[in-house]
C-alpha cells in the first residue's frame, strides 16, 4: 500500500459515516471481524450479520482500512472518502491461505440522494467506451437511451425525457447551453470525467428546475492533494469515419505539505465522413478540441479550487437531411438511398454547426464550528453557437443562427454537523442568464433575446436509521424571464414572466445485510417554459416544419415515484427499477391542420401545446457469474408514455430495448490483468406505440446488433497500459432507429472497429 493518508482525523469537523459488511467467500457474514483505520486507530467490530459502521470520517481524505479476523487473510483497503456519503462497502475475506487475492469492493459510489435509482460509470467502465460522445457512453446505464440527429449529434434520454427535462451537472455546475434544441448535443468533453452518475428520477429538490427526467453528474477526479505526479494518455482509433482521438491529463500535488494540487487536461477528436453499410453519409465529419485546467488549495478547515474548461467543436450535418419543403421530404423518404451521397473526407461543408463552451468555476469550502461545512460555488459559462446553412447569394460563411448565452450560477450550501442520526443541508442557488442573438445573420432568430433570473432555496434532511434511511427535501424556486422579441411587423416587444414553484421529495432506503437494497422515492419537479417554447416563430430548417410558440404556456409540474430493488450476491447481481412520472402541463409540439402554403411549398404547422403526460416503465439489469471467469449480463428498458388528456401516445419515446452480454473475465493471468472478452447482442423493437398517420414515415422496424469487445491491462513499475479492441455492428446490419431525427434520410452507421490504448503513469498507475 502506498498511501497512508490518515490525515487530520479530528472528530469535531469530520462527520462522514461509512457502512458496509464483511463476508466470506460463500457470502456468509463474518462475525466479529475487526476493522481498524490505520493512523488514528479508530476501530469497530462487525455484528452478527457482518455489518459495521465507522463514524466521524473526514471528507476529502484517503484512509487505509485494515480488516482482520482469525482464520482469514487480513486485508488492507484504501478508502478515499469524498465529500459525500461514501458507498456502502462489501468486503470479502478469504480463508487463510497463501493466495493474496485483492479485496473485492463490490460497491457503487452513490450521490447524496440515495433513495432515487441511480447508476455510476466508473473510470474503468468509461475507459471501455472512451472517445464516444457523452450520450452514447451513458447508454451503458439501463433506462438511458439517446436522441440522435444523424450520426454526429447525440443527446441523453432518461426514462423517455430529454433536452430541457434532463439536467446535466458538469463538475457541479448546471450545464447551460442551447439545450432546448433536439439537434444540440451537450457541450461536454467526457474525458474530463472520472465518473458519470445518472440519477434516474425527479431530483429537482436538490438540483433545481429541469431535473425532471433525471440528472447526469459529470464528475472529474478529486485533485491529487498530498500525492505525487501522475498522468494519462489515451489514443482511440476507429475505422468508421477513420477517427482519431487523443486525450490526456497530468496532475500533481505540490507545495511544502502538498496542500496544493493542479491538473491539466486536453482532448482532440477528428472524425471523417461516417459510413453506413451501403454508402457514405455525406457531410458527417466533425472535429473537437477541448481543454481544462484546475488548481486547488486545501487545508483541514478550508479550501478553494478554480476550474476552467473550454469545449470547441465544428460538425457537419448529414447533407441528405437538409430539405426545402414537404415535397423534398417525400422524395427523400421514397428514395431507397440518400439523394446526396458523399465520399470520404475530413472536410466539413454546410450545413454545419460551430460551437464553443467555456466554463469557469470557483468553489470553496469552510468549516464553521456549530454551523457546519459551508460550501460556495460560482460558475460562469459562455456558450456560443453558430449554425451555417445552405444559402444563396454567397452567404455560406454567414451563420444563419448565431447566439451567445451567458450564464452565472452561484450556490451556497451548508452541511449541518450530524446529530442523532440526522444529517442535513440547506442552501441557496442563484442563476443569471442572458441570451443574445448576434446581429447580421440575415435570418429571423429562432429564439429571441432574453434575460433569465432564478433563485432557489433548498433544505434536505437525512435520517440514518438502523434499518431504514429516510430522506426529506423541500425547495422553493423563483424565475423571472424578460424577452426582447420582434413581431411579424418588426415591432420590438418586451414580454415578462414570473414563475414560482415549491418542490418536495420523500425517500426511504433500506439495506439488508444479505446484499439487498430497496430504494423508494416520491417527489415533484418542475420546469418553466423556455423562450423557444414561448416565442418560436417560423420555419425550423432541416425539420421542414413551421413551429409556433405560445406565450400562454404555463410551467410543467411533474409528480414522480420510483421503487428499486437491488440484490448483490456472490454470483448474481439484479436490479429492477419501476417508475411512474405524471407531468401536468407537459409541453410538446402538436401537428395542426391545415398545412401552411408558402412560396417555398407546403409546410406542416406545429404549435406548442400543453397536455398531461404519464410516463411509466421498468429498467432491469441482471448479471450472473459462473465457473469463476464466465459472466452473462442482461438489460432491459421498457417505457410506456401516454398523453392522458387526449388519450394518445406521445411521440419520440424510445422503443423497448434488450441487451445481453456474455463473456469471460480474468483478474490476472500471468503478467496480465483485467482480461476481458465479451459479445453483446442489442435488440431494439420497432416503436409500435405511435398514433397512426402522425409521422411522415412509419417507425423503423426491429433490429438486432452484434458487438464484440476485448481488453487487457499490463502493469510495471510506475506504468499501467490498458489495451482494448471493439467491433460494433459486426454483421454490418442495415438499420434505422426511431430515436434518430434523420431516420427518414439515411441508415445508421455500419461496422466499426475501434482500438483503444490507455497509458497511465506516476502515482495513479499503481492501484
Amino acid at each position: 500500500m502506498l498511501l497512508v493518508g490518515s490525515q487530520r482525523a479530528y472528530a469535531q469537523s469530520c462527520t462522514v459515516t461509512l457502512e458496509g459488511s464483511v463476508l466470506d467467500e460463500n457470502d456468509q457474514p463474518v462475525v466479529a471481524a475487526q476493522l481498524i483505520i490505520l493512523g488514528n486507530q479508530q476501530g469497530v467490530i462487525t455484528d452478527t450479520t457482518g455489518y459495521f459502521r465507522l463514524h466521524h470520517l473526514c471528507p476529502h481524505t484517503t484512509y487505509t482500512l485494515q480488516i482482520t479476523m482469525l482464520g482469514f487473510d487480513s486485508q488492507e483497503l484504501l478508502l478515499p472518502v469524498g465529500h459525500q456519503a461514501p458507498p456502502k462497502l462489501q468486503i470479502k475475506l478469504n480463508t487463510s491461505s497463501k493466495t493474496l487475492d485483492e479485496v473485492t469492493v463490490a460497491a457503487q459510489k452513490e450521490s447524496d440522494w440515495m433513495s432515487l435509482p441511480q447508476q455510476t460509470l466508473t473510470a474503468e467502465q468509461l475507459a471501455k467506451s472512451s472517445g464516444k460522445p457523452l450520450a452514447e457512453m451513458l447508454k451503458e446505464v439501463s433506462g438511458v437511451s439517446s436522441l440522435t440527429t444523424g450520426a454526429s449529434i447525440s443527446k441523453p434520454v432518461i426514462h423517455g425525457l430529454y433536452s430541457n427535462r434532463v439536467l446535466i451537472l458538469n463538475n457541479g455546475i448546471r450545464q447551460e447551453g442551447q439545450q432546448w434544441g433536439s439537434e444540440h448535443a451537450p457541450e461536454i468533453d467526457p474525458f474530463v470525467a472520472s465518473q458519470l452518475t445518472v440519477i434516474k428520477g425527479a431530483a429537482s429538490v436538490r438540483y433545481g428546475a429541469e431535473a425532471m427526467g433525471g440528472v447526469i453528474l459529470v464528475n472529474p477526479a478529486a485533485l491529487p492533494y498530498g500525492m505525487r505526479g501522475s498522468g494519462q494518455a489515451t489514443i482511440v482509433g476507429s475505422s468508421n469515419g477513420r477517427q482519431g482521438i487523443f486525450s490526456g491529463w497530468v496532475e500533481s500535488g505540490f507545495g511544502k505539505r502538498k496542500q496544493w494540487a493542479a491538473r491539466l487536461q486536453a482532448t482532440s477528436k477528428n472524425v471523417g465522413t461516417l459510413q453506413s453499410p451501403d454508402y457514405y453519409l455525406a457531410n458527417t465529419a466533425f472535429q473537437e478540441f477541448n481543454f481544462s485546467g484546475a488548481v486547488g488549495f486545501k487545508q483541514e478547515k478550508r479550501g478553494i479550487e478554480i476550474f476552467f474548461s473550454r469545449f470547441t467543436t465544428s460538425l457537419g450535418i448529414f447533407r441528405a437531411a437538409h430539405i426545402g419543403n414537404l415535397t423534398d421530404l417525400e422524395a427523400a423518404i421514397n428514395s431507397p438511398r440518400p439523394l446526396f451521397e458523399g465520399q470520404f473526407t475530413y472536410d466539413i461543408a454546410n450545413p454545419r454547426q460551430k460551437i464553443e463552451h467555456n466554463l469557469l468555476k470557483v468553489n470553496a469550502f469552510y468549516k464553521i464550528p456549530k454551523l457546519g461545512l459551508l460550501q460556495i460555488q460560482y460558475g460562469w459559462q459562455i456558450n456560443t453557437r453558430q449554425e451555417f446553412d445552405i444559402r444563396i447569394g454567397g452567404r455560406f460563411n454567414i451563420p444563419a443562427l448565431n447566439m451567445e448565452l451567458q450564464t452565472h450560477t452561484l450556490e451556497l450550501a451548508v452541511e449541518r454537523p450530524s446529530s442523532n442520526k440526522w444529517k442535513g443541508s440547506w442552501g441557496l442557488q442563484g442563476l443569471l442568464q442572458f441570451n443574445s442573438n448576434v446581429p447580421g445573420t440575415g435570418v429571423r432568430p429562432l429564439v429571441p433575446n432574453f434575460d433569465n433570473y432564478g433563485i432557489g432555496l433548498f433544505w434536505t434532511e437525512k435520517r440514518v436509521g438502523d434499518k431504514w434511511d429516510w430522506e426529506f427535501g423541500l425547495r422553493y424556486d423563483y424565475r423571472f424571464l424578460s424577452v426582447l422579441r420582434f413581431d411579424t411587423q418588426d415591432n420590438l416587444l418586451n414580454p415578462r414572466f414570473n414563475f414560482q414553484n415549491i418542490s418536495a421529495s420523500v425517500g426511504a432506503h433500506r439495506h439488508w445485510e444479505n446484499g439487498i437494497t430497496w430504494r423508494n422515492n416520491i417527489g415533484t419537479a418542475w420546469r418553466p417554459p423556455q423562450a423557444y417554447e414561448l416565442y418560436s416563430q417560423g420555419l425550423h430548417h432541416g425539420a421542414a416544419a413551421l413551429e409556433f410558440g405560445d406565450e400562454n404556456l404555463r410551467a410543467e409540474q411533474a409528480y414522480q415515484t420510483s421503487s428499486t430493488w437491488q440484490v448483490q450476491r456472490k454470483r448474481i447481481d439484479i436490479e429492477i427499477g419501476l417508475y411512474a412520472n405524471y407531468i401536468n402541463n407537459y409541453i410538446f409540439l402538436n401537428p395542426e391542420l391545415p398545412p401552411a402554403l408558402t412560396i417555398r411549398g407546403a409546410f406542416p404547422v406545429f404549435n406548442f401545446r400543453q397536455t398531461d403526460a404519464l410516463l411509466a416503465g421498468v429498467d432491469l439489469i441482471a448479471k450472473y457469474r459462473f465457473v469463476k471467469v464466465g459472466f452473462v449480463q442482461a438489460k432491459a428498458a421498457l417505457i410506456r408514455a401516454r398523453d392522458v388528456r387526449n388519450q394518445r401516445f406521445l411521440p419520440f419515446i424510445p422503443a423497448d430495448r434488450y441487451e445481453v452480454t456474455a463473456g469471460c473475465q480474468w483478474e490476472e493471468v500471468g503478467q496480465w490483468q483485467d482480461i476481458i472478452a465479451a459479445f453483446t447482442l442489442q435488440h431494439v423493437l420497432q416503436q409500435f406505440r405511435v398514433e397512426p398517420n402522425s409521422d411522415y414515415a412509419p417507425p423503423p422496424p426491429t433490429y438486432t446488433l452484434l458487438n464484440f469487445q476485448a481488453g487487457v491491462t499490463k502493469q510495471w513499475n510506475g506504468h499501467r497500459l490498458a489495451f482494448s479492441f471493439m467491433v460494433e455492428n459486426i454483421l454490418n446490419i442495415r438499420y434505422r432507429d426511431y430515436m434518430n431525427r434523420f431516420r427518414y434520410f439515411g441508415d445508421e452507421i455500419g461496422r466499426n472497429f475501434t482500438v483503444r490504448l490507455l497509458w497511465t503513469f506516476g502515482q495513479k498507475a499503481k492501484k
Binding site: 435570418v443 429571423r444 402554403l597
Partner: protein, 191 residues
C-alpha cells in the same frame, strides 16, 4: 475567518460585475434577405403584343395571411418568351431584386414548371449556366388549344443538374432542396 469571508464576498462582487458590464442595447430586427416573397413571371408574346404578367406574393412570410396570386389568361396557340424575376419585399416596403443572386449561382439553381394534365402548355429552356445546362430564368412557353389547369413554378438549389431528364425540365431525378414551390399553384386559363 474574516479574510475568508472577504474572499467570498469579493467573488460574488466579481460575479455581479460581470453581469452589469453587459451591453443593454436593444436588438435590431434581422432582414431575412433570402426569404423571397414575390415571384414575377412575364409572358411576352413572340409575335408581339402586350406582355402578360403572373405574380405570386406572400409578404408576411410563412404562416399568417395566405399568398396572393395574379394570373391573367394566356392566348391559345401562341409562343411566349418568359422571364422570371424574384424579389424580397422588406417590412419597410423597400424592394430588393434577388434574380441576380440566382443567376450568379446559376450552376447550382434550376427552375422547373409543372403543368397539370389537360393544360395545353409546354416549355423549353432558353438560357444556360457556365456548364451549358439550363437555369430557367428565361424560357419559351408554347400554348395549345383552349384549356385550363394549374402551373407550379419550382426553384431547386444544389441539385444534380447532370441527372437524367433534368436538362429537359423533369425534376424527378434532380434531388436538391426546394427554394421556391408556388403553393397554391397558378390557376392558368388558355383561351
Amino acid at each position: 475567518m474574516y479574510k475568508f469571508t472577504r474572499t467570498l464576498l469579493l467573488l460574488w462582487m466579481v460575479g455581479v460585475a460581470f453581469t452589469s458590464c453587459r451591453k443593454k442595447n436593444d436588438p435590431k430586427p434581422e432582414n431575412p434577405e433570402e426569404e423571397i416573397n414575390r415571384l414575377v413571371m412575364t409572358f411576352t408574346p413572340v409575335a408581339g403584343g402586350a406582355p402578360i404578367v403572373f405574380r405570386y406574393e406572400d409578404l408576411d412570410g410563412p404562416g399568417g395571411n395566405a399568398p396572393v396570386l395574379t394570373n391573367p389568361p394566356l392566348q391559345a396557340n401562341r409562343q411566349y418568351n418568359v422571364a422570371i424575376q424574384v424579389f424580397k419585399v422588406k417590412s419597410t416596403g423597400e424592394v430588393e431584386e434577388k434574380t441576380p443572386e440566382v443567376l450568379t449561382e446559376g450552376d447550382e439553381h434550376q427552375f422547373f414548371f409543372r403543368a397539370t394534365a389537360g393544360l395545353n402548355l409546354t416549355f423549353s429552356y432558353t438560357d444556360v449556366d457556365k456548364n451549358q445546362r439550363p437555369i430557367g430564368l428565361s424560357t419559351r412557353f408554347t400554348t395549345g388549344n383552349a384549356s385550363s389547369g394549374s402551373l407550379t413554378v419550382i426553384l431547386r438549389h444544389e441539385l444534380n443538374k447532370a441527372a437524367a431528364g433534368v436538362a429537359a425540365g423533369d425534376a424527378t431525378n434532380a434531388g436538391g432542396e426546394t427554394d421556391i414551390e408556388t403553393t397554391p399553384p397558378f390557376a392558368v386559363t388558355i383561351q
